[in-house]
């Protein structure tokens, strides 16, 4: 095809096309690297982890090296308890604070302060959060405990949930808020029933992602929940088993092959839990999504 005549000097097409190809190539390689890394990690966990997964491994409690019929059942239950407790603490507080920020706190001194603190807290190394809870809870209580682990994880979740809630609520158009008020709803009702409902998918996604993020956290549990070779019946008073600590212990502090293998098995379980949360999030929200 003949190129169109132009009164201005044309830029050579060759370089523009080359640039286009280079940028496309670059973004493709980025995708390949990211996906490749994920496949590699999941693949390793899958191959090494699946070898040790048996019903007994999932159901029996962990035991010191050498005792037969050991498993990671107590760690699975402990992790569920600790992250569940964290969610119970962080979700209501985080959502409420996020609502405050989005609906009442824009431009106020309290709002800006809160937002600043949340940003600082989000950037804080999680081991510091562990130390903080250690000095505020573990030392006064005189013992490690599962609930201290929950508090540490909640401190990590809180700012994330607060900021996602704020962002999601701010995305709801002002006209919807006004329409709700114009019908004669109170401010509270308009926010809870109309604004939050519109932002529901975003809110739930944020909560679930923060949950799956902390369910694999190790550092904050190091000084709080610790670990115990028993069922987590001492959640409120004593060290509580959990998967991340079990992995750390078994793979870094143990010279035994069997322990390393069990560590991989535990890694497989925690990955499966996180994957499960992520996938259910996506499926639920695809179907429940309102509108066209």
């Amino acid at each position: 095809m003949k190129r169109f005549e132009s009164v201005y000097p044309l830029r050579p097409l060759f370089f523009r096309k080359l640039k286009n190809h280079l940028i496309t190539l670059f973004s493709w390689s980025a995708v390949v690297i990211a996906v490749g890394a994920m496949v590699w990690i999941l693949g390793t966990v899958l191959i090494d982890g699946l070898k040790v997964i048996t019903p007994g491994f999932l159901l029996n409690p962990s035991k010191p090296y050498g005792i037969p019929d050991a498993g990671i059942g107590n760690a699975i239950l402990g992790t569920l308890l600790i992250t569940g407790g964290a969610a119970l603490l962080a979700v209501p507080c985080g959502v409420a604070a996020g609502i405050y920020l989005a609906e009442f706190g824009s431009g106020t001194r309290l709002g800006n302060g809160l937002r600043f603190c949340a940003n600082v807290l989000m950037g804080m190394p999680s081991i510091l959060v562990g130390l903080l809870v250690y000095s505020l809870m573990v030392v006064p209580m005189g013992s490690f405990s599962g609930v201290a682990g929950s508090v540490a994880l909640a401190v990590i979740m809180f700012p994330v949930i607060m900021r996602t809630t704020e962002d999601m609520l701010l995305m709801v158009p002002a006209s919807l808020r006004e329409a709700a008020l114009a019908l004669g709803m109170t401010r509270t009702r308009a926010i809870l029933r109309i604004v939050c409902t519109s932002a529901r998918n975003g809110l739930l996604t944020g909560i679930l992602l923060s949950l799956s993020r902390v369910s694999g956290e190790t550092a904050p549990l190091l000084f709080t929940a610790m670990f115990a070779d028993s069922w987590p019946k001492d959640y409120f008073t004593g060290p509580t088993a959990n998967i991340p600590m079990l992995i750390t212990e078994y793979t870094t502090n143990s010279p035994f092959e069997e322990m390393h293998a069990a560590g991989w098995g535990a890694a497989f379980v925690v990955s499966a839990i996180i994957l499960f949360i992520n996938i259910t999030t996506r499926i639920c929200f695809r179907e429940r999504h309102h509108g066209k």
Partner: protein, 251 residues
């Protein structure tokens, strides 16, 4: 005809920026009053005082009086929820709530009244018929209000507004985001609705104002330049600015 609403010496401020100057306006009952004027002249601002929706924003402030049925509703003592039940509002962009068609219309009913399930169902149907939407949605009352077309969504919002049994309907460019056929439907609907409600409509469409309204107010730079019978405003306005605006010779 009696006046439903009387605005007296209304001044409005966005922070330190004054948007309305000394507005005085009488809105006749069971009539359509059109508010026209160039963009940014304060039409929406004026309308948003009538149901005190501006109160949502901390920096917005009004002075003056707004009498509805003789009561100054800008007085702090007037209950704003009660006011908003009496004064419904339709926005430029349709604002269906994220719930089913039925629930959208039932919402104000449940909000303001104590009704049984069957009474609610009846009133929802009545409101949807009132907004001439019933035939189109009667088979999909359970599907999301967001899944309707733009014109249907706007009529859904009208149905939702009239379900609360208001006395006044405020409409801020209700048809500007909607195609001509749906617009005609909504215009016919408004002429029908004025038997039951007092309607104030902001519009940029001169033909629309001329077609459906009984009275017209022309706003310019935050002031009400001229107000009177629509026929007079459109055929023989007193003010030069009004004439230039409606004939499109505005400079």
């Amino acid at each position: 005809m009696a006046n439903k609403i009387s605005a007296r010496n209304i001044n409005f401020y966005y922070g330190s920026h004054q948007a309305l100057f000394d507005n005085n306006l009488d809105i006749a009952e069971h009539a359509i009053t059109a508010v026209i004027g160039p963009s940014g002249c304060g039409k929406s601002t004026h309308l948003r005082i009538y149901n005190r929706i501006y109160e949502l924003y901390r920096d917005q402030r009004v002075t003056g009086s707004l009498f509805i049925d003789g009561v100054d509703v800008l007085n702090e003592k007037v209950d704003v929820l009660e006011l908003r039940r009496k004064v419904g509002m339709i926005f430029q962009k349709p604002t269906p709530f994220p719930m089913s068609v039925f629930d959208n219309v039932a919402y104000p009913l449940r909000l303001h009244y104590r009704l049984s399930r069957s009474e609610i169902a009846d009133k929802v149907e009545e409101a949807l018929r009132g907004a001439s939407l019933w035939e189109e949605v009667k088979d999909k009352l359970k599907s999301s209000g967001l899944a309707l077309s733009g014109g249907q969504q706007q009529r859904l919002c009208i149905a939702r507004a009239i379900a609360a049994s208001p006395e006044v309907l405020l409409m801020d460019e209700p048809t500007s985001a909607i195609d001509p056929v749906a617009t005609l439907k909504i215009e016919e609907l408004m002429v029908e609705l004025k038997k039951r409600f007092t309607i104030v409509i902001v519009t940029h469409n001169m033909q629309q104002a001329a077609r459906i309204s009984d009275f017209t107010a022309f706003f310019y730079k935050g002031r009400i330049v001229e107000f009177g019978d629509t026929e007079k405003i459109f055929t023989n306005p007193d003010e030069k600015q009004t004439e230039e605006y409606i004939t499109g010779r505005f400079g």
